[in-house]
């Protein structure tokens, strides 16, 4: 009680001193989340404008005689004649570790009912990306726990890797699996020397509230929520909130990057983000271009994704990895927004509906997926075993058409087909089941050295599961050696061979 009185007294004494100068305007038109204001002679671009009732707007259109302002929140109380004033501030959000484990909206206000967010640092939502001099090359891996990705399309800390595919192909699932694996690794290696934990930020743009609730449950059950910030701008939120949510998330990620930590941010999804921006631009009467998107929709995504980077020691010594998600229609990657985002990111993971329904899940198309950072972001061990896998799968796909003529092929072709079929089977993985990097190395080593050639294709998954169980229960030292050594030496090679022989003697 006494602190409240002290607060009021300090506020009153602060107000006693001077006259307050403000710059005001009058609302002349309001509708569709946009208000047109007369006056506001000192307004600046992107400045926060205060409406009566505490509503905040952003001045986006500075015209000769009026200001176009987008409203962040419920605009039903705004009417013509309302007096608004400038605040002199750019839109900022609270950042810091106090946000971990929380669900917040665009302005950083809590949505999960767990009380106020403990944070005293504010970062601007719109910020210029780190320049060339401030950056460092990407060479630390982000282990997604999904074998297909870690082996063939490896992601590094500070990279932007696009996840692109039709609806219901498993895009969000890959993102969630990655987050769960980061949380698991954070817990397992907490405090160990040289280990840098990765914090997750999941930005939900235009999604159903039920979807966001489901993702929250999954993360909580997997114990990943304590390392995750969820920024939610659901489908029922205003277009302004959906437009600004990714930038808020990026600001929260930049705090980790500037303070020597690594963060992973997932934008789910940027197609809905572009649609929200299109709505905002059209209501502001900005000229439209292809598919009615405004002319600067490329700049919208490029300035967002360029903020994900790895910075050098002098400029923060951290990194922000981005996994944007884009949804295509009928597999058309040459549409406007997908091509835009593909040209911005450092690679893409392309998910195909056909593969999904054939049972290949994650439905990653090895031919069309690429990571431009590539093996620079892999530990040596994985590079040694997985280096050839992509090529072998490519050959398998080429020859797959001949698979029907089984008996008419030469031995080498048959061997490739057999091996390829087993690799495809091996890369199938259940959701929420990340595999540690050392187990991946062991399993891939086994298949590359022919230990799975005599196993029927439909028993490959069974063998993999049993092998992993065997390794984690009885061969922990071997796994530890693989993880710490980083590369497969001759001794390790021999040890792996002996282990596989021992395993196959117990498993038929």
């Amino acid at each position: 009680m006494s602190t409240i009185l002290q607060d009021i007294e300090s506020q009153i004494s602060a107000l006693k001193t001077t006259t307050v100068q403000t710059n005001t305007g009058v609302v002349r038109e309001c509708g569709d989340g946009v208000a047109k204001i007369e006056g506001l002679s000192d307004v600046m671009l992107n400045e926060m404008i205060e409406f009566p009732g505490g509503l905040i707007g952003l001045a986006l259109n500075l015209e000769e005689n009026e200001v176009g302002c987008i409203l962040m929140g419920d605009s039903t109380a705004v009417k013509e004649g309302d007096i608004v004033k400038t605040t002199g501030r750019l839109l900022s959000v609270p950042v810091g570790k106090g946000l971990l484990g929380r669900v917040v909206d665009v302005l950083g206000q809590p949505l999960d009912g767990k009380g106020p967010i403990p944070s005293d640092i504010l970062y601007p939502v719109e910020k210029i990306a780190p320049s060339i001099i401030k950056r460092k090359g990407v060479n630390q891996p982000v282990q997604t726990g999904i074998m297909a990705i870690d082996a063939m399309i490896p992601i590094g800390r500070g990279q932007r890797e696009l996840i692109i595919g039709d609806r219901a192909t498993g895009k969000t699932t890959i993102a969630i699996d990655t987050m769960i694996n980061q949380a698991r690794m954070n817990k397992t290696f907490a405090g160990q020397e040289g280990f840098r934990p990765i914090y997750n930020i999941y930005v939900a743009i235009g999604q159903k509230n039920s979807n966001i609730a489901r993702i929250l449950d999954v993360l909580r059950e997997a114990g990943a929520l304590e390392y995750t910030i969820i920024v939610a701008a659901a489908a029922s939120d205003s277009a302004t909130n959906q437009y600004l949510a990714p930038f808020s998330g990026a600001a929260m990620g930049e705090w980790f990057m500037d303070n020597g930590m690594d963060a992973l941010i997932i934008f789910d999804d940027l197609s809905k983000h572009a649609v929200a921006y299109r709505q905002v631009s059209l209501v502001l009467k900005r000229p439209s271009g292809r598919e009615a998107y405004p002319g600067d929709v490329f700049y919208l995504h490029s300035r967002l994704l360029e903020r994900s980077a790895r910075v050098n020691e002098k400029n923060g010594n951290g990194s922000l990895t981005a996994l944007p998600i884009v949804e295509t229609q009928a597999g058309d990657v040459s549409a406007y927004i997908p091509t835009n985002v593909i040209s911005i990111t450092d690679g893409q993971i392309y998910l195909e509906t056909d593969l999904f329904y054939q049972g290949v899940r994650p439905a990653i198309s090895v031919g069309l997926s690429v990571s431009r950072v590539g093996s620079a972001a892999q530990i040596k061990a994985i590079k040694q075993v997985a280096g050839k896998v992509k090529g072998e799968l490519a050959q398998f796909r080429e020859l797959a058409a001949f698979a029907q003529f089984g008996s008419d092929l030469d031995a080498a072709t048959k061997a490739r087909l057999e091996r390829g079929g087993r690799i495809v089977e091996l890369f199938k993985q259940r959701q929420y089941n990340p595999i540690t990097v050392e187990e991946q190395v062991a399993v891939l080593w086994a298949i590359q050295n022919g230990h799975m050639d005599d196993v029927a294709v439909d028993r490959i998954k069974e063998m993999q599961a049993k092998l992993q169980e065997f390794l984690t229960t009885r061969k922990r030292k071997l796994l530890e050696t693989i993880r710490t050594a980083g590369a497969i030496s001759k001794e390790l090679n021999d040890e792996l061979a002996a282990t596989l022989v021992e395993f196959k003697s117990t498993w038929k």
Partner: protein, 130 residues
Amino acid sequence: MKVSKDARKLSRSLFRSSFTGGRLDRARVEAVLKVVAARKPRHTLETLKDYERLVRMELARRHALIESATALDPAASESILRDLKSRFGEDITHEIKINPALIGGIRVQLGSDVWDGSINGRLELLRSKL
């Protein structure tokens, strides 16, 4: 009302021609109105309404509104006006009003800038901060 592009263009050019030496000129405004009444261009009503809006905003930019809770001492209002004119130009029009809603103190508005020293203003500030 929705003003068409042509009407907006015309009203803007009429507005620009109503200025002499950077300030709105009454004689020119009257001349513009006479011409529009005589020639009756297409979209006359829209053009005139938009022209009126532009002139209104320009006049408001140079109009000072001095409000106080009780009747202001003429010397005080004189000094405020002198201050405003020396800072923003001699051509400022002014209006002195009594507004009991302010409770106490003075509120001066010139165009978009507001200097609020009234008690009501401080109460509003307190309310928004809490």
